[in-house]
Amino acid sequence: MSGDEVTTVCAVVLTHNRCAVLEECLDRLERQSRPPDQTLVVDNASRDGTATMLDGRPAVEVLRLPENLGAAGGFAAGIRAAHARDTDWIWLLDDDTLVDETCLEALLDGARRAPRPASVLSSVVRWRDSSLHPMNVPVLRLGRRADFAAAAAAGLVAIRAASWVSTMVRHDAVTQHGLPPAHYFVWLEDIEYTGRILREGTGYWVPESTATHATARPVGTSTGSGERFYFKARNQLWILRGPAFQGFERLVFARSYLRSVATYMTQSEDKPEALRTVARGVRDGLRREPT
């Protein structure tokens, strides 16, 4: 990767019925110290006036999906479309990602100074109170100490997987690894995809690249998720059975799975319903994944 003047970026923003926050997200992309070269909004069948708002932004390309495919299907469609545009990087954001002014510039600077060519670069994402958002802390690559040290020497943190919230994926990584698993619908498709890329590839967390994830609450997927925990229970089993993580990593992931189920059960008020949710997720997670 040579200097910034020849590096191109397509920002892909996924949205579903959050017109106001999407507008703020897009405003912040426009105000970047180093704006993306292209911006593509994937509209997951919004019905709240998002289409009208986007019509008033001619600089933004829109990919309208006829039905809500969830984050997994939406980002798969967006990455496919962005890949066809042939930019060096695809920058992925949820519609409630509010990037700070130098977010993209800092990501690209991270790419330049990385000790090895990066396939994935991720921003530091906080909630409104400035605490690290629990949904967006990457999986760190602590086991490879020499790589971690080399990253630290460059002012970066070596990572093993990352969330969609302000994460860049390199064009040739998409060429090599294809698209994220659209059939996940929601939750953990980002971990599966970036985990698959970073099994052999290199990824970094860039401390100077910052954003806010403007969720209603700063919680992870095990807390207050209700019936949606079904997707975590199912998808995490698919990940465990798939190629993204291997060997000892699988054991660590399995332990995290059991902990998240325990947390969910403990915090659910309706224990029988929670148990049914987990049971359905486990049942479907043990079945063959759709192809």
Partner: protein, 204 residues
């Protein structure tokens, strides 16, 4: 010349790395890690530089450590081919905010490390109960630094490099003792046991 006393561990006067004397105000010898408190008593400088047996400093070893000496600062161990010796690097502390903060300073926070090259305040060596090689063998350094870093922090400074001798695995029994004493996790214990029983270069 730095206001630092080098405490060279496990060497004789005649086998001292010559470059060390040129960089520090004074030198002391310690027969083993268990002897570093006695050596530190003889020092008069506020900082001491613990140099493990067989360590060969480079030009950047000490200056980079001094620059980061607000915490105990650890060098990156390399073999004679210039490749990082993973087995000697130590374990990164799993404090995410701490990792980010340290990365901005081109460092990484540690839970423990082998003592190959470490700069710290002299008073810390005197205040903390000494390492116990008789009990922990080659893992006396990780055991001691685990106690040190738990209270005073500790950082890997990759800009500071030290060339070390060929890595030798330790005893599984010592691994298990340190794991119990320092409350290692299961993964960490298994990894170190594997290193102890499986001959290798110590590289990644």
């Amino acid at each position: 010349m730095s206001a630092v006393t080098a405490i060279v561990v496990g060497r004789t006067e005649s086998s001292f790395p010559p470059s060390v004397r040129q960089q520090v105000r004074a030198t002391e010898l310690a027969r083993s890690l268990g002897d570093i408190q006695r050596a530190a008593l003889g020092a008069t400088t506020p900082l001491v530089w613990l140099l493990g047996a067989g360590g060969r400093p480079l030009d950047d070893t000490l200056p980079a450590l001094i620059e980061h000496a607000d915490f105990p600062a650890v060098s990156l161990p390399l073999n004679s081919r210039g490749i990082a010796v993973e087995a000697l690097i130590g374990r990164v502390a799993e404090d995410v905010d701490g990792i980010l903060h340290a990365a901005r300073r081109q460092c990484a926070p540690l839970r423990h490390a082998h003592v190959c090259s470490l700069v710290l305040a002299r008073r810390l060596v005197l205040d903390l109960p000494a390492p116990d090689p008789a009990r922990f063998g080659r893992y006396a350094g990780p055991e001691w630094t685990a106690r040190l870093f738990a209270h005073h922090g500790g950082e890997l400074v990759p800009a500071s490099r030290i060339v070390v001798e060929e890595w030798m695995p330790g005893s599984p029994m010592h691994v298990l003792r340190v794991a119990r004493t320092s409350r290692w996790g299961t993964g960490e214990t298994i990894r170190e046991l594997a290193r102890a029983v499986r001959p290798g270069s110590g590289e990644a």
